[in-house]
Amino acid sequence: MLTIDRVSKHFGGVYANRDVSMEVPDGELRGVIGPNGAGKSTLFNLVAGHLRPDSGSVSLDGRPLDRMPPHVRARHGVAIVFQGARLFPGMTVLENVMVGAHARTHGGLVAAVVRPPSQRRQERETRELAERCLARVGLEAAAQQPAAALPLGQQRRLQVARALAGQPRVLLLDEPASGLRAGERTDLTDLVRELNADGMTILLVEHDVGMVTSLAHRITVLDLGEVIADGTPAEVTTDPRVITAYLGAGGQHAAQHTGAQHVAHR
């Protein structure tokens, strides 16, 4: 159970998140939607530990994460796939995924030079795990390519594979489908659904509201840093506050630009 308890974060005078609370039970696929600037990415960064909240608390199974830096949260099972492609461009695709297992493995400089049997075994296991993760996202053929040479859609899937190598309990996906072509989008949707079917708890931020409503068990809607609705896709998409937030004062016209037509027409 991931618990976000009245978390607030402001930059200057502007609240990016204000008293945001959310409870995500194990195995749930939770969608997080909201107009631009609603504070979705800020929320993810607060959960992953790249930002510290001004107040409030984030905990996993009752264990507070607040004092942990991001790499320690990774050890406790929090993984994040960033918006855009944050890869390690100087490394191969396989090596990128192997870094993802860092939180679960051991060994520093001395182990690197001396290479005792335990270290060799761990290296072999890490490699095999990385290969399985690559196969999972359909990138096994590209294992030895430089990561920077992949097209965007594959880079996004590589990021997912890297997150999987940490065998996380909670996976945060920040706009994984942005910039992808229709075919790539369908593949990604299927992948997210499969991962969740295997029991992984997933939080999904996505502009494509159609994708979120088709995938998520529940959806939390943020607007101007605050939670304005929380419920099943059917509940949320008929909530008048959500429709107003998406349509704004501009009415139907604005909907054309925000993708809110999915919401409005349900």
Binding site: A74, F82, G107, G108, A148
Partner: protein
């Protein structure tokens, strides 16, 4: 990715390096060049992978040299013991100072490391236990058991052995759990952190590693010279290491060696030219300083990634625009 140079090239270079001391009558230039390669190998990792510039690697060379100087003359430790101790002491020193120092970034860190070198120099010249104004002399010749070095040549091979160990360790480190974490840092610190890489400690680890290499070079220098004082480690030498690292190619195993050899040979050639009869005595330093600037500018203009990656990409024909 680690590009492997062709085995043939490595064998030829290794054979040439092993024959050179037999041919040379004076080993000083050779030993200094090989030891510079040892220092620059570590610096190249620090700059290329951890993205941290150090203008003060001489501080760690000094710590290694002092370990040998004090260990042999004051505490009577055997030469082999102090030789092995020197990189450990330098590495530990770097771990202690690295934690606060590496909170600085970019230019601030570069100047912080330079300040560290100046502080080490000041400590050496003002504290008598560290040599004081006269430095530490009377360092015994290197030896193992009953065998003692009596001329220069064995030092050339000792330096080569150190370089071999450094290159071998580097290759193993690059392809390891720690090495992948280190290389991930240059791609995206945020992503590395999310994958579970402790960014701060990994940087300190690379810093300590580069210091250990520098300390090893300092140890051999101390036996070779055999005299250690604050003036043995001028800041200009530390700047030269940076130039060598950039010219050779950052974040490559062979870049340090290539950079050290190319820059050393160039400076030596200029030295020979400027000491020709008829030239004023000020010619040598002027030409040398000019050469530093010129080499760096030419390298950054035409080989911004350094010699080794540029040659590697010619051979591998990597797609245009892909980062090193």
């Amino acid at each position: 990715m680690t590009r492997r140079p062709s085995t043939l090239l490595v064998v030829v270079a290794a054979v040439a390096a092993c024959i050179a001391p037999l041919v040379l009558s004076d080993q000083t230039f050779f030993v200094h060049t090989v030891l510079a390669a040892v220092v620059v190998s570590g610096l190249s990792m620090l700059m290329g992978y951890a993205g941290q510039a150090s203008l003060g690697q001489g501080a760690f060379v000094a710590v290694g040299a002092l370990t040998v100087a004090l260990g042999t003359t004051r505490w009577g430790l055997p030469p082999l013991v102090v030789l092995l101790l020197a990189p450990l002491v330098a590495g530990m020193f770097a771990t202690v100072v690295g934690r606060p120092l590496l909170r600085l970034q970019g230019h601030y860190l570069a100047f912080g490391t330079l300040a560290l070198l100046l502080m080490v120099q000041t400590a050496m010249s003002s504290i008598d236990a560290l040599g004081g104004a006269y430095g530490v002399s009377g360092i015994p010749a290197f030896g193992v058991g009953g065998w003692t070095v009596t001329d220069q040549r064995p030092y050339a091979y000792l330096a080569l052995a150190c370089l071999a160990v450094v290159l071998w360790s580097s290759a193993r480190i690059v392809d390891s759990r720690f090495g992948r974490a280190m290389r991930a840092l240059s791609g995206s610190e945020t992503a590395a952190e999310s994958a579970g890489v402790p960014v701060g400690w990994t940087k300190v680890g690379v810093f300590a590693l580069s210091a250990a290499f520098a300390g090893l070079a300092g140890a051999v220098t101390a036996f070779f010279t055999p005299y250690v004082s604050a003036d043995s480690f001028p800041p200009l030498e530390s700047f030269t290491y940076v130039i060598m690292a950039v010219v050779g190619g950052l974040g490559t195993i062979w870049g340090g060696v290539v950079g050290a050899v190319v820059v050393s040979v160039l400076l030596q050639a200029l030295n020979t030219v400027s000491s020709q009869p008829g030239l004023p005595p000020t010619a040598a330093p002027i030409i040398q300083y000019a050469a530093y600037g010129t080499v760096l500018i030419i390298a950054l203009l035409f080989l911004p990634r350094g010699i080794v990656p540029s040659v590697g990409s010619l051979r591998l024909r990597r797609p245009q625009g892909s980062p090193a």
